[in-house]
């Protein structure tokens, strides 16, 4: 008995020893920088020399900074638009492509392909397509005789953000489609058969079986979208660098400009930028908590 107990204990110790490298990595590269960012957000620091502790001054300044609020508003628009589009469209597509056939597999792979390209490359490619004079999109519209549909796209504050949202959808649709596809595999076939026996058509099956039973997956997709929406950076940076004149500025692009500067920024504001970083973290966590809370209050079992 004693021997078994000691074996168990030594196994436990061995287990803990095995996770030490991962734990160390996590503490050094995640916990410490995160805590340091909180400390930094309470300081005034140019990235060199002494950090000057200023308490909550950076946060107070943030609340009086119109560019921050504009960026925040843009983030909210981006979060709402991408969460709705990047949840509904992949879900419908996943249902349409759920049956295993050569064509469906081809489409699933096709939708997923853009996801393997980095956001920076995607952004740069689409910026070329949207170029107002010789870009592919306006050229196609012109050749189709749809000249009145031609726009300045990224140069027009009205169109720049919808363009970015569209590219985000194009890029990430395949990823969410795969998640929904995996979720659909977990819905028992018997439920659909029973519904068929009861005379339900495809739309009813989708609305009253698929959608409710996919709810756990949908929650995950929504949370990923919300967090991704709050911290979106690379796509916007590659396509517009937050312009024209802040029209597509989001919190992360504003943070980057303050901390690292677009070309031409000579004086970094690290503390202020860290405060924006903390705000992004708070908004993302809050949105996720609300979502999980709603989800928990409404769990379905079958």
């Amino acid at each position: 008995m004693r021997k078994a107990h000691s074996l168990e204990k030594s196994q436990h110790i061995f287990g803990y020893l095995m996770i030490i490298p991962a734990l160390l990595f996590f503490v050094i590269f995640v916990v410490y920088p995160s805590l340091d960012a909180v400390g930094l957000s309470l300081c005034f620091w140019h990235g060199y020399g002494e950090r000057v502790f200023v308490g909550l001054q950076n946060y107070i300044n943030l609340f009086h900074d119109p560019v921050f609020w504009l960026a925040f508003k843009n983030n909210i628009i981006f979060v709402i638009a991408t969460t709705i589009l990047q949840t509904l469209i992949p879900m419908v597509l996943a249902v349409m492509l759920v049956k295993n056939s050569f064509l469906n597999t081809f489409f699933r792979v096709s939708y997923f392909v853009p996801n393997v390209i980095s956001f920076i490359i995607t952004g740069s490619l689409w910026a070329m397509i949207f170029e107002p004079n010789f870009g592919l999109l306006n050229t196609i519209l012109q050749n189709l005789g749809l000249e009145t549909w031609k726009q300045l796209w990224l140069a027009d504050p009205k169109w720049a953000f919808p363009c970015i949202i569209f590219v985000s959808l194009w890029q990430s649709m395949g990823f969410y489609l795969v998640i929904f596809y995996a979720g659909l595999q977990g819905i028992p076939e018997e439920v659909y058969e029973a519904a068929s026996v009861d005379g339900a058509d495809s739309l009813r099956k989708f609305l009253f079986i698929t959608v409710p039973l996919l709810r756990p997956v949908t929650t995950v997709v929504i949370i990923i979208n919300v967090i991704g929406g709050f911290k979106v950076f690379d796509l916007i940076w590659a396509m517009t660098t937050g312009g024209p004149n802040h029209a597509t500025e989001v919190m992360a692009t504003y943070l980057y400009t303050l901390a690292f500067g677009s070309i031409g920024t000579g004086t970094p504001h690290m503390g202020y930028a860290a405060a924006i970083g903390i705000m992004i973290l708070i908004f993302s966590v809050l949105a996720s908590v609300v979502q999980l809370w709603v989800r928990e209050a409404d769990t379905l079992e079958y």
């Binding site: 140019h46 010789f134 517009t240 031409g264 000579g266 004086t267």
Partner: protein, 418 residues
């Protein structure tokens, strides 16, 4: 037995220590240098190899990064107090100098050496009598143009901006598929490079922009929200409305605009003296081009042009080998090293001797505009971003000149008030 082993151990440790001491006494000092000067990709390794061969006691290691990643890398290194001995601080020159990160060359270098540079290039990096960087290149801006298009359409070199608007109309009338002057302001910086020298064009006073940027050492009351700035912004608006630029200026990257120019779909291109080497490298064979002086604000006025270069070299104040770094810099700037490097990279030199010995006709022509050099780089807190965003708003038609001027002033005040 144990004592014997212990004795051998002591002897071994002592021998090891002795060897290490000898080795470190002979070890060469290593100087590191980081730049983003990609036009010198070929020249720098040669300079360094020559130095290392001639100076085994001071070894130099240099790295050239792309500008896209350079400033962030430098900033991270500075934050970690691990910056190289010699660095190219670009627009961070003032903040790093005043923050004590880089040395004041006036304290370390003799007057004779400093007098070898063109005075305006030294003035660019001097604040309150402290010289925080040495200019690596000089620079002027001009309008590059497609000679074939100009000849075919019978266009003359414009003397003023109004004439530029006129020839733009002519170009559009003759061939609507050709843009008079493709301009990419998606990344914001070219709008600043274009607009800021115009303030000097309007006022004939190159010190005004410097004072607008610095504020603290200005004796007169200056504000971005003032008549000369609005007048310069009016000129930009006039050029936009005169359809000089391609539509959607804020949706075009500089590289895209340059491609339009190379394709023969753009007649002119606004850029700096770094462009000839880029055209050599990238333009299709037979591309027939030249460059003319930035037009003047009005007939008979001076052709002020942005003359400051972002290519400059500083030495870390935290370096343990400042003297050695300076020795290497003296070597780099010695005429037999500096001039050939400039010729090879087709750069515009910053030293008087190399400027006088220029043979490249394009660079020589552009260097002759240095006497009409106007400042165009802002180093003060928040100024560059404020101007960049407002100029985008103006060029995109979202802001009037008055609104743009007010926005710049408000943004600068807000950033400096934090």
């Amino acid at each position: 037995m144990l004592r014997k082993i212990g004795g051998i151990g002591v002897v071994l440790i002592l021998s090891g220590l002795l060897l290490m001491a000898t080795a470190s006494a002979q070890e060469a000092v290593t100087i590191t240098m980081w730049t983003w000067f990609d036009d010198f990709q070929a020249a720098f390794p040669k300079i360094v190899d020559r130095w290392n061969a001639e100076h085994p006691e001071i070894r130099v290691e240099q790295q050239i990064f792309s500008l896209d990643e350079y400033l962030q890398k430098l900033q991270a290194a500075v934050a970690g107090e691990s910056e190289p001995d010699i660095l190219a601080p670009h627009v961070m020159v003032r903040s790093l100098g005043e923050g004590g990160v880089t040395i004041d060359f006036n304290e370390w270098l003799d007057e004779e050496f400093l007098n070898s540079f063109a005075p305006s290039t030294i003035r660019q990096f001097t604040w309150d009598g402290h010289l925080y960087s040495l200019p690596w290149t000089a620079q002027t801006f001009g309008i590059f143009y497609n000679k074939d298009i100009f000849e075919e359409m019978g266009l003359n070199i414009p003397e003023t901006w109004d004439e530029l608007i006129e020839i733009s109309h002519t170009i559009r009338e003759i061939d609507g598929s050709i843009q008079p002057l493709p301009f990419g302001n998606r990344d914001k910086w070219l709008g600043c490079d274009f607009f800021l020298p115009l303030i000097t064009q309007v006022t004939d006073d190159p010190t005004l922009l410097i004072e607008l940027d610095r504020r603290t050492d200005s004796e007169r009351e200056v504000s971005w929200n003032s008549e000369p700035v609005i007048e310069a912004l009016e000129l930009v608006k006039k050029l936009v409305e005169g359809e000089v630029f391609a539509p959607g200026i804020n949706g075009i990257a500089n590289e895209q605009a340059l491609t339009i120019f190379y394709m023969g779909k753009g007649a002119m291109f606004y850029s700096g003296s770094w462009l000839p080497v880029t055209i050599d490298r990238e333009a299709p064979q037979g591309f027939n081009w030249d460059v003319f002086e930035t037009p003047a604000y009005a007939p008979g006025k001076r052709h002020w042009t942005g003359n400051e270069s972002g290519a400059n070299l500083a030495v870390s104040a935290r370096s343990k080998h400042i003297e050695e770094a300076l020795e290497f810099l003296r070597f780099m700037y010695s005429p037999e090293v500096y001039s050939p490097a400039m010729v090879e990279a087709r750069g515009m030199p910053a030293t008087m001797e190399a400027l006088q010995g220029l043979e490249d006709p394009t660079i020589k022509k552009m260097a002759s505009w240095l006497e009409d050099g106007a400042p165009h780089i802002l180093y003060g807190e928040g100024s560059w971003d404020a101007v960049a965003n407002a100029v985008q708003g103006l060029m995109g038609g979202q802001l009037t000149p008055e609104e743009a001027a007010a926005q710049i002033e408000n943004d600068v005040q807000r950033v400096r008030g934090r």
